[in-house]
Amino acid sequence: MNISFIHSFQSEWLKTKRSLALWIVIIGGFFTPAIVTVARIIQYRTLPSIYAADDFWKLLWQNSWESMALFLLPLGAILTTSLITQIEYRNNTWKQLHTLPLNLTTIFFSKLFLVLVIMLGFFVLFNIGIYLSALIPYWVIGGVPYPKAPIPFQYFLEQDLKYFVDCLPIVAFQYLLSLKYRHFLVPVGTGFILWVGALASLSWKYGYIIPYTYCMFTYLQGGVVNKAVMPTINIHLLACVYFVGITLVSYLLYMTKKERF
């Protein structure tokens, strides 16, 4: 990593200020924990027994990840990647970016790195949200004990890592589309169609071919009753392969562009 990459990343980071992408990450990260919190406060009578359970944290984790893995994470990755990358098209700034003293590789990877950092931020906020969704009912409702069970940090970290790896192919493909097409609807529309296709192909034995299915499969592999056909291969490894492959194609397409504006 050279110094111009760091400067380029700093510059990219400043562009996200007040951007819709940043708001999506903040709202998306806290959305499910907020729903869980409200639901628990409404059903406050059941809370003492829930909070006393030995598997309190794992159940909370599973509840929180349900909507996240199936909907919010894939859609968040689609929207965040597209919005960040499309900042240049929307503002007609590609030509300015390409007249800066930066080589194309630096521009390509600093933008991609920014998307990954923001996705990481999405996970951090979501984890904080989960923790707060456990604490808030304990703070506001009398008689609710602090959870007895210790927080399974290692399990949470492993799960976070798996989900993060699973969403990488989505990021890579959305990045490719957003770099290639000027119109915002192309990457977002394609991403949405692929997400619907992924949902529909969960019960297909080759559903794992579609790289948008991996977050869903990881959640469903957690013992949730479902009709999905679980892949027998390592989907996390496949996600990494997809990510590297799509990123390479995207890089080649970007480097060989005839016009840079």
Partner: protein, 301 residues
């Protein structure tokens, strides 16, 4: 020494669409070079090739004595540009737009305030660039181009869409930059009148070909050469024959006789001859073609 030298530059958008046909141009250091041509002449394509926004197909581009391809990054550190419409992040303020570029250029942070003062946008505060008027956007774009103290400024029609007052402001700013900081400026335009009072050198391009290149003085010399004389008499046909006997080639335009540049003595001699032949001479006047007419002449031919 030249800030920019272009040799045999050729560019096609498709096999049958030659946009630049063997362009050769030279921009001396410290000059203000007006790059003139009608819309679609190839000005923007040339400027985009200089900045590396288009892949070069044929020819050489040398900036500050170094070939562009091998010294792309070093060269861009010394170049500021504004190509076509302003390139600004609409959701950010003027200061934020400059701040993110300061990170890349690694120039002193004090430059941000300096260029904002220079273009008169220091008062814009928290107003987003997207809410700026076109004139303010153009000025912010110029501030961006100046942020890192470039040696060469490339401006593609920077006064597009500006009112006359805005045009004068930009012109004065560019003259000041050239005079005080010694910045070489390339400014493209499709209107000669717009940049006539600004430039020291001129290149005229039309249909992808460079029609003229030289100093403003050299263009003015052409203007002198193109001085013509207009005559009107009560019998122009007879007058034309008398004039032709003096080895001159008169032509008729809108009912008047037009002669190429001739000396004052010859004018007096012809007048005497016409009167001696019984003709009534209503009007004799010398017409000086203005620069705009010369420019139009280049374009038409």
């Amino acid at each position: 020494m030249s800030s920019l030298q272009i040799t045999n530059l050729v560019h096609h958008f498709s096999a049958n669409d030659m946009v630049l046909d063997n362009i050769n141009l030279e921009v001396p250091e410290g000059s203000i070079y007006g790059f003139l041509g009608p819309n679609g002449a190839g000005k923007t394509t040339t400027l985009k090739l200089i900045l590396g926004l288009l892949k070069k197909q044929q020819g050489t581009i040398t900036l500050f004595g170094k070939p562009l391809e091998k010294n792309h990054i070093d060269i861009l550190k010394r170049v500021g540009s504004l190509i076509e419409s302003p390139s600004l992040y609409g959701h950010l303020t003027a200061h934020e737009n400059l701040n993110l570029l300061q990170k890349v250029y690694q120039c002193p942070k004090t430059n941000i305030q300096e260029v904002l003062d220079l273009v008169g946008l220091a008062h814009t505060g928290k107003k987003k660039a997207g809410q700026f008027s076109l004139g303010m956007k153009q000025r912010l774009s110029i501030a961006i181009a100046l942020l890192h103290d470039p040696s060469l400024l490339i401006l593609d029609e920077p006064t597009n869409g500006l009112d006359p007052n805005g045009m004068i402001e930009i012109r004065e700013l560019l003259l000041k930059l050239n005079k005080e900081k010694g910045i070489t400026i390339i400014i493209s335009s499709h209107l000669l009148a717009e940049i006539e009072r600004l430039v020291t050198h001129i290149g005229i391009i039309n249909k992808g070909k460079l029609m003229f290149e030289g100093t403003l003085g050299e263009l003015r010399e052409k203007q002198q050469q193109l001085l013509s004389v207009i005559l009107e008499t009560d019998d122009n046909e007879k007058a034309t024959r008398i004039i032709a006997d003096n080895d001159l080639t008169p032509c008729m335009e809108e009912g008047r006789i037009v002669l190429p540049a001739i000396s004052k003595d010859t004018v007096a001699k012809i007048n005497r001859q016409l009167v001696a032949n019984g003709l009534e001479v209503y009007e004799i006047k010398a017409v000086r073609n203005d620069l705009e007419a010369i420019f139009m002449d280049f374009i038409k031919n």
